[in-house]
Symmetry: C2
Subunit: 296 residues, 2 copies
């Protein structure tokens, strides 16, 4: 396989893309266009890049790399309580790329997008020094379901989905974006604030607290640890892609009773007034900084 | 200036971003969200990347580089007859970046976005081997105004805006996206097909013809040449970012009479049936392949 030019390569990479009926203009045009939205729908937007030697290694599974590129964006839609609808993929292509590897990456993207009812509708290709994918997403929310990092109030309970820590052992390539959980949570108006844990609870929780102008208390013993990890890992490894959200104390018991998913739900602490100090129960909060390269 | 971490850097880069009232969630959240659209509005999406040593050199003006990153995307919205509303910027950041250079790039992006009434609403930052910007755009069209490469019919006249060729001499960093011209054209339903010239007429016109399943004839003497360029340059240099569009023969005279812009309008040929061969009037059509790096 030796694609002779850009158009040929794009054709090979996107051959399996399906274009659902809500796609009015898709592949092969200057822009993609979608069917009109319902009157109350808020357009929701996200972009995110996956770079080799930072977010993945070329020795890892290309299907999992493609999965991760898409799933990271879907996780951000879950964080916002939004339903993703369509994705675009910009591809940075180094000289020494393998078409077979790329085709497998794109197959991984397509499989994950399709599993969540999301259409891949366009993109762009450019030469670059290293392999990267920049995935841009479009989705929908309503004013009532849209969530953000703002809105946590003193007294709210603090929850996470799933387990934390251990992403480095390959979990960061295989995680499941918490879209059904997020849609359920916002349908019943549980979260007062929500985000996804991409840089680690130790880095992301302070961001939520800052945006909401509150402080927090976490309880080390209540952290849901991934197998073979410590509380320090759970707080600082990063790339958990779990939901972190706050729920009013009044609604907490109902949430825990009604939670319909197999995905674990853990109350890990509570929100307190910003006049108090945040308390991490002895844990040092460092988190993961994406500006530092992977140490291999 | 030595931003100590990702959040600090983002704060510095986006300090001047304004968030118009249609932005419901902007900077500092997992996703951006916008106000609901009118009932007939089609969401229009685009992503595009600008990579150093491919689309720009770090020795060039950072404000112009920022301009180009945004203007390329706006040009694609013009191609689709759409109105851009909001942009996201993903940034690939090498170890040896200069914060002052980056701040100037972002100032260039902001200035151009603002000049066209478009809001910068979010983004992402990642470590990478070289500097790149991936700009994703969201805009609006209606079913009546949305344009694509499909729709050119035999007998249609072929037009371009502005002049062609000579982009290498710096024009590729300073071009003006043809949004007002595009909005005027689609309001009066002139184009049967439209695209923007990013890879050169010699490469882009065959793409339009292929999408519309037609052939074309161009007339060398009618090509609007940029100063100090030849017809060969006009066809093959690429990065003109002018509009290429087709108009029914019946409407051509009216278009030329009513054209209200100082921007030059040139009829450069016509569409013929796909049963005929395309005729480039002796010119060799090569165009610009973005997968080849800049030769400096």
């Amino acid at each position: 396989m030796n694609p002779s030019n850009e158009d040929d390569l794009i054709t090979r990479l996107t051959r399996s893309w399906t274009q659902p009926s809500f796609v009015r203009l898709g592949l092969g045009h200057d822009c993609a266009a979608l069917a009109p939205l319902s009157a109350k729908a808020l357009p929701v937007l996200k972009t995110d890049a996956l770079v080799e030697n930072v977010h993945f290694l070329r020795t890892q599974s290309p299907r999992q790399i493609g999965h991760k590129a898409v799933a990271r964006v879907l996780s951000d839609f879950a964080a916002a309580g939004a339903q993703p609808r369509a994705l675009l993929v910009a591809l940075g292509l180094p000289h020494n790329f393998s078409p077979a590897f790329l085709i497998a990456c794109y197959a991984g993207m397509q499989k994950t997008a399709q599993a969540f009812g999301v259409a891949l509708v366009g993109g762009e290709t450019t030469r670059s020094a290293e392999l990267w994918f920049c995935v841009s997403g479009f989705g929908l929310a309503t004013a009532k379901t849209l969530c953000s990092r703002k809105g946590a109030r003193p007294g709210d309970s603090l929850y996470v989905t799933g387990t934390l820590g251990g992403s480095g052992s390959g979990r960061h390539l295989r995680f499941t974006p918490r879209l059904p959980e997020s849609q359920w949570l916002v349908r019943y108006h549980y979260p007062s604030a929500m985000m996804d844990l991409s840089d680690g609870l130790g880095k992301d929780l302070p961001r939520l607290a800052l945006a909401s102008r509150v402080s927090f208390r976490i309880h080390q013993k209540q952290l849901p640890l991934s197998p073979r990890t410590t509380a320090d890992h759970a707080v600082n490894d990063g790339e958990d892609y779990e939901l972190l959200f706050t729920v009013s104390k009044k609604r907490s018991a109902l949430l825990e009773k009604k939670w319909p998913f197999k995905t674990r739900l853990s109350r890990i602490g509570e929100i307190v007034s910003s006049s108090q100090s945040s308390d991490s129960d002895g844990l040092i909060l460092r988190g993961f900084d994406h500006l530092l390269p992977i140490s291999t």
